[in-house]
């Protein structure tokens, strides 16, 4: 859904009492909106009694947190060593070529290991896992996104 300050405030409120609540709050915001809008920095900082710089630092430190809204689908092809040994580099490049010009439909994000290293190469599409990937299967997945 599109960013909504009132909804964001409700989420912050629901999690702020946890010890070390920053990550749980940011995860919940991203789950709801797909990203963390700059508008969230101030209310999160206030709720946790931290500076805006600190919260901004947290958001930018962690690779998971997006600062902009992603496409309708998010594809993460594993780039770590076990997948490299089964040709992941070529898949990553291929996906980049295929995704070009489809920003609204598909966002590519790197990931370093999905724990599927014995069925490499691996990828995650919108939370679903795929192992023993081939270029053909990858193409089919991407077709499903950009069609």
């Amino acid at each position: 859904m599109t960013w909504d300050n009132a909804r964001a405030d409700a989420i912050i409120e629901a999690y702020k009492a946890l010890d070390g609540a920053a990550l749980p709050i940011l995860h919940a915001l991203q789950k709801e909106f797909g990203y963390i809008d700059d508008a969230a920095i101030e209310p999160v900082a206030k709720a946790l009694n931290l500076s805006r710089a600190e919260i901004h630092g947290v958001v930018t430190f962690y690779h998971d947190f997006r600062k902009t809204k992603p496409g309708r689908h998010v594809l993460r092809v594993c780039r770590a060593e076990a997948c490299q040994s089964r040709g992941a580099d070529a898949l990553v490049e291929h996906a980049a070529v295929r995704a070009k010009g489809h920003d609204a439909a598909l966002t590519l994000e790197p990931v370093f290991c999905l724990g599927l290293c014995a069925t490499a190469p691996a990828a995650m599409l919108d939370g679903e896992l795929y192992g023993r990937l081939t270029q053909k299967r990858l193409d089919a997945l991407i077709d499903g996104c950009v069609r």
């Binding site: 010890d19 995860h27 630092g57 290991c113 192992g131």
Partner: protein, 505 residues
């Protein structure tokens, strides 16, 4: 006729290769034939090249089929009913050599049981009978060392936390499992979450902690869901004890948060930067309180030790590496999976005999042991026994037990470059050599490969590695030289060695 009882994993590794489709096909095909079946979804046995692996209960024990595809189901049901073999039949599960040769202690139940079927906490009962100090003594006597990578004796860590003063104490389970080539933590949390929960409850009892956190990486949504469900069951059954509770926290894609102090920073809601030691987390850890930080496998092994005795565990292994290690065979390997065995098996036996060589059928050129900070080993070192000290003596590490196999298509200079790139990408930023030197390392390797001042740049790369080794606060910067220098030393041909100087310069 009684319902046929099938077992099929719902482990992420099996789901990624189509286990849910197989489950649906089994139900619809059976229904169409009016055949009564029961399907139990389990964790994985860890024979990933055979996933999805379907098992059937028979009077002679379970028999297995793999790797099963949706299109096989009808014929498998025919074969089962006619009591005939099928092309995908693997025979009795326990007799499959990859399984039969293992010593499954930590992973005894994993892949066999429904992960959410409640189990008695026999190890916790034994701990309560023994008392807190004797529980720690048993863990110490078992010889158990941290399975997260550093290999620190678990009992000694627990003793420090028990002796430390603090208003509250914490048990933190490190389930960040960021190393490529490793998936033991994931498999255990998805296949036998109660082993981890029981291990944490024992740790809490032993050191006097009231709260536990499991920090799981966000890349493991299935493990998070299964552990969460198991936790609710254990809590409802009052299995955690009157004054201990566990909470799950999810990481956010930072490799360095597997380092224990960065993990604590992250749990406290900050950027995952590494803390200087001392103070040790055992003295001042989470929220400044005495804290045990242990890997999933370290904790999940404790129930077995308490239930079966420290001696029984200690009897396995070699030298100072006691007990068993869940070794993970990954990458370009024919029989990829999890192989739990006593320490001491050689690298060559693991790769060639147990792993069956490469999946591509080409010669094995190199293996990386212990994740992205581990060394690359050539065949010449395949006699190295799987043991903490033996790997250290060869400038390597066993880490969390992952072995990634590469065939002769590998470019070892590219692998060394990736190690530097990964360090730059994941650096917490605190130390200059790690933050900046790693990027210099990438550039220097590029120059070497391009043949630019090869000798001088090779010397520079070695220098840079020395600076990383000695100028880094943690092993991310400190150990990145392992993959880089091992590639350079054992595989110089990929860095242009042998080409004439003049030609290069």
């Amino acid at each position: 006729m009684r319902a046929l009882r099938f077992f099929l994993p719902r482990d992420a590794g099996a789901l990624a290769v189509g286990a849910d489709g197989v489950a649906r096909a089994l139900h619809t095909t059976a229904q169409a034939r009016g055949l009564a079946i029961e399907l139990v979804r389990t964790g994985s046995r860890g024979l990933y090249w055979l996933e999805p692996m379907l098992e059937l209960e028979t009077p002679r024990g379970r028999i297995a089929f793999g790797a099963v595809e949706v299109g096989d189901i009808a014929a498998i049901l025919d074969a089962v009913i006619a009591d005939k073999p099928h092309a995908k039949s693997l025979g009795p599960t326990d007799a499959i050599p990859f399984l039969a040769r293992q010593t499954r202690l930590t992973f005894k139940r994993c892949g066999v049981v429904d992960p959410l079927a409640p189990v008695a906490f026999k190890g916790l009962d034994a701990a309560r009978r023994l008392g807190a100090q004797a529980t720690i003594d048993a863990v110490t006597q078992s010889g158990l060392r941290g399975r997260g990578g550093a290999g620190f004796p678990t009992g000694i860590k627990w003793n420090t936390v028990r002796a430390a003063q603090g208003e509250r104490k914490y048990i933190v389970c490190n389930a960040d499992e960021g190393d490529s080539g490793t998936f033991a933590d994931r498999m255990l949390m998805e296949g036998d979450p109660f082993a981890l929960i029981e291990g944490m409850a024992i740790a809490g009892f032993a050191v006097g902690a009231t709260k536990g956190f499991v920090y799981i990486r966000s890349e493991y949504p299935h493990a998070i869901a299964t552990l969460d469900a198991a936790l609710r069951i254990a809590r409802a059954n009052r299995q955690l004890g009157p004054d201990f509770d566990i909470e799950i926290r999810v990481g956010a894609g930072a490799y360095v948060c597997g380092e224990e102090t960065a993990l604590l920073e992250s749990l406290e809601g900050r950027r995952g930067t590494v803390r200087a030691k001392p103070p040790l987390p055992a003295h001042r850890g989470l929220f400044g309180m005495p804290t045990v930080v242990n890997n999933v496998i370290s904790l999940a092994t404790v129930p077995w030790i308490l239930a079966n005795g420290a001696e029984a565990y200690r009897d396995f292994g070699m030298g100072k590496s006691r007990g068993t290690m869940p070794i993970q065979l990954a990458g370009n390997v024919k029989h990829g999976g999890l192989y739990e065995t006593a320490f001491g098996v050689t690298l060559g036996a693991l790769v060639d005999e147990i792993g069956g060589g490469t999946a591509t059928g080409r010669p094995v050129r190199a293996v990386q042991v212990g994740g992205p900070l581990g060394a690359y080993f050539p065949r010449a070192l395949f006699d190295t026994p799987f043991d903490y000290e033996a790997f250290a003596a060869r400038d390597g590490l066993i880490g969390h037990g992952g072995i990634v196999v590469f065939d002769d298509g590998v470019d070892m200079a590219a692998q060394a470059r990736f190690a530097m790139e990964f360090c730059a990408h994941e650096s917490c930023g605190k130390c200059t050599p790690c933050r900046i030197g790693s990027t210099r390392g990438v550039e220097t390797i590029d120059k070497i490969v391009a043949g630019q001042d090869r000798a001088a740049n090779t010397a520079l790369l070695e220098d840079l590695c020395q600076t990383l080794k000695f100028g880094s606060l943690c092993a991310l910067g400190g150990f990145t030289p392992y993959p880089v220098l091992s590639a350079l030393r054992h595989f110089p041909e990929y860095f242009g060695a042998g080409k004439s100087r003049q030609a290069a310069e």
